[in-house]
């Protein structure tokens, strides 16, 4: 009988404790799936900064410490819980993990994806599952050009902006350029970056010739023959969209042979490497940050805030993947709060609120202007690298900013077609 009484009182106690949350009326939590490369070659330059950007921003949001208009706690008062998933693996794996997040973990939204291949694979699944998804880094313009989307959004501008911005900066700095070359990785990212760059150069500097067009294998790592080819060419500039290991290997190998003294090198993603390479990044390199991110960001209070919290925690300044993640989360937050006027909003309501939204984040002003309100555009900036030998700090000088409508296609036309037809309608 003692046993039965103990069990009954335990049950009563348990029921009483379980009833408390309902009685206290806790606001619901918002669950997010955050997907980026946590292992593999893309982890160090992109995946980890993206993940860290999410972690630090969500912490600040949950504590209500973000500056206005982001000062509400979490999303609309509800704390945000994040589940971090590794993007590594085949596209099939990635899609499986996406389904797990949406169906098993029942997240309210998925924010992530670096590889354009993965973005393209996840998009139809997101639409099928009616799962709100925000791509934060992948660059392919195709996502919203192929088909209208309802649940997929991308706050960060796509890769066309990077190539057009690079061409505009190069032509601004070297008006009489006659010959340039390119070395890009032989896969979608490298091929598309080069195609857009060459297309833009044809429009902006019709007399300049693309001399050596090199496409080494992704992760080739050894570029001796390519560097020799470039040394024996007559080009005045070199375009590369190399990233991580390939970028750093290329920089070490070309510096040992003085290539950067022969020609100006434009590295469209080099901002992710500059804090690691420091004095090993050649002075005079034209640096891109896929937008007005990192050292190319404007010195606004919100940028100062983001830069501070990130650097304090991770001991290294935030690079563009961290900025892209921050912008994506802040955009999602605003959409959520706009839709949450009457209680916790569902995916349809958030999507309707997200469409066409405009806001200003650490990387500047975003307008969801393309892809029927699903694809964001921002201004971009390019600058020239200089390692300050006195302060021993990397610096970017000679920054030129290009307004959003100058380097992004207008709505209703595919990016590559826009470039091929002379970038009509560009507002510079």
């Amino acid at each position: 009988m003692c046993h039965a009484r103990w069990t009954t009182s335990a049950l009563v106690a348990f029921a009483a404790v379980a009833a408390i949350p309902a009685a206290a009326q806790q606001p619901a939590t918002v669950k997010l799936g955050i997907v980026s490369f946590l292992t593999g070659p893309a982890a160090s330059p992109f995946g980890i900064p993206g993940r860290n950007g999410a972690e630090i921003v969500l912490e600040a949001l949950n504590a209500g410490k973000a500056p206005a208009p982001f000062d509400k706690v979490g999303f609309g008062g509800a704390k945000v819980e994040a589940k971090y998933v590794d993007e590594a693996g085949s596209a099939a794996n990635v899609v499986t993990e996406f389904r797990n997040l949406v169906q098993r973990d029942q997240v309210d939204a998925v924010v992530g994806y670096i590889s354009s291949g993965n973005c393209l694979a996840v998009t139809p699944v997101a639409e099928e599952l009616k799962a709100l998804t925000v791509f934060y880094d992948c660059g392919t313009p195709r996502i919203f050009e192929e088909k209208a989307r309802s649940y997929v959004f991308r706050v960060s501008p796509h890769a066309t902006m990077d190539s057009v911005g690079a061409a505009r900066y190069l032509v601004a700095k070297k008006k009489s350029i006659t010959s340039f070359s390119g070395i890009n990785q032989n896969y979608a990212w490298g091929q598309d970056s080069w195609r857009d760059f060459v297309g833009a150069m044809k429009v902006l500097a019709p007399n300049a010739v693309a001399e050596k067009v090199l496409f080494p294998k992704l992760f080739a790592g050894e570029f001796g023959a390519e560097i020799s080819t470039l040394l024996t060419s007559k080009s005045q500039a070199l375009h590369t969209s190399f990233w991580d290991g390939d970028l750093e290997s290329f920089i070490f190998q070309e510096q040992a042979r003085g290539l950067d003294k022969r020609m100006t090198i434009i590295m469209t993603t080099a901002e992710t490497a500059m804090w690691r390479l420091r004095d090993k990044m050649p002075d005079g390199t034209i640096i891109g940050a896929r937008g007005a991110n990192g050292p190319l960001a404007r010195d606004t209070p919100i940028n100062k805030w983001f830069h501070q919290i990130y650097t304090d925690r991770y001991n290294i300044p935030p690079t563009y993947p961290a900025y892209q993640m921050a912008q994506s989360l802040l955009g999602l937050k605003l959409a959520y709060e706009k839709a949450a006027a009457g209680g916790k909003p569902n995916a349809d309501a958030i999507a309707a609120a997200f469409k066409g939204i405009e806001f200003t984040g650490p990387a500047g002003h975003v307008k969801m202007a393309l892809g029927d309100g699903h694809q964001g555009i921002t201004e971009t900036a390019y600058g020239t690298y200089k390692f300050n030998k006195q302060t021993k700090q990397p610096e970017i000088v000679d920054i030129i900013r290009f307004p959003a409508e100058c380097v992004n296609p207008p709505p209703g036309i595919d990016a590559d077609k826009w470039i091929a037809e002379g970038m009509k309608g560009a507002k510079c």
């Binding site: 294998k217 023959a225 080819t229 040394l231 190998q253």
Partner: protein, 308 residues
């Protein structure tokens, strides 16, 4: 097209193709020699070779970090880096051979390949556990070597050292196989394991030592390349594929084959990059396919007696 005058730039391009080909061949040879040795002796297709390379590179990067901070002279630091990398290879070779491979000798070849492949995948993650997901620059030896200008072409002295190292390695391997007792034992085992065992050769010991030497050579490949590349996750993967192609061309188990295979691939690839860059990716495998059509076992494999 008749040209009786050779353009100066043509000469330079030809010279560049030759030097680039030699440098790339040196890289391939150093990486492939360990693989071909292990396959020749143990008949094991060792996918873990990529891990040896990666561990050698990470070990070298760590070593460079140590000596760069301690401010050692460049030559000493370089030798320390190589020694450190090879030591990592030695440790790994011992652990893997004694701990894992020993258990699968004599099994079906497919099983052994699966085991080495699984080990490779596990070791990729072990790298993350030990060194984290970041990348490690080890450029000090590359930079301190300086460069040499030949007309418009600038050669990195480190590349020249690489070629010299590969040539030295080829010479040492040849001498060891032909003129040392152990080398002749190895050659016998490569020829025919069973007959060698019948003659009283301790084949198990030969296997162990060969695997360890192969591991050290793979790690040496990684160590010597570390200053040129950014030591980061995934460098082992790329290298295995190239090493396999070279070994397939040269013949599994043949050191001369690895050397000639590396030279052919290196020069063809350099020519492609300079002259027809569009086919650069394809050239290595194109050459491999061509060779295998004519000589299915590679260039330097001895005729196999038919066994009943």
């Amino acid at each position: 097209m008749s040209r009786f005058e050779v353009d100066g730039s043509d000469v330079l391009t030809a010279f560049a193709i030759l030097t680039d080909g030699l440098v790339y061949a040196a890289y391939l040879f150093i990486v492939a020699i360990g693989l071909t040795l292990i396959f020749g002796v143990m008949k094991i297709l060792n996918v873990t070779h990529g891990s040896f390379y990666a561990f050698g590179a990470y070990g070298a990067a760590t070593a460079v970090g140590i000596y760069a901070n301690a401010d050692w002279p460049a030559a000493l630091g370089f030798l320390f880096m190589l020694a450190f990398g090879m030591a990592v290879g030695l440790v790994m070779g011992v652990i893997l051979e004694r701990g894992l491979l020993r258990l699968v000798y004599g099994r079906d070849e497919v099983v052994v390949v699966l085991v080495t492949y699984a080990t490779f995948l596990i070791l990729e993650d072990v790298i993350v556990l030990i060194w984290g997901p970041g990348s490690y620059p080890a450029y000090q030896p590359l930079v301190s070597a300086g460069n040499t200008e030949i007309g418009d072409l600038v050669l990195s002295n480190y590349d020249i050292i690489l070629v010299a190292l590969a040539a030295g390695l080829a010479g040492a391997a040849y001498w060891a196989l032909k003129f040392t007792r152990y080398g002749r034992l190895l050659t016998t085992v490569i020829f025919d394991r069973e007959t060698a065992a019948a003659f009283g050769i301790n084949v198990t010991l030969v296997y162990t030592v060969t695997f360890i030497i192969g591991a050290m050579l793979g790690a040496l490949g990684g160590a010597v390349m570390a200053p040129k590349i950014s030591v980061t996750l995934g460098i082992g993967v790329e290298v295995i594929v190239l090493a396999f192609a070279v070994v397939a061309i040269g013949g599994m188990g043949s050191i001369e084959g690895a050397l000639i295979g590396a030279l052919i691939v290196g020069i063809c690839r350099a020519a492609a990059v300079h002259l027809v860059p569009q086919v650069e990716l394809f050239v290595i495998y194109g050459v491999m396919a061509l060779v295998l059509v004519v000589r299915p076992y590679g260039l330097f494999v001895r005729a196999q007696p038919r066994k009943i």
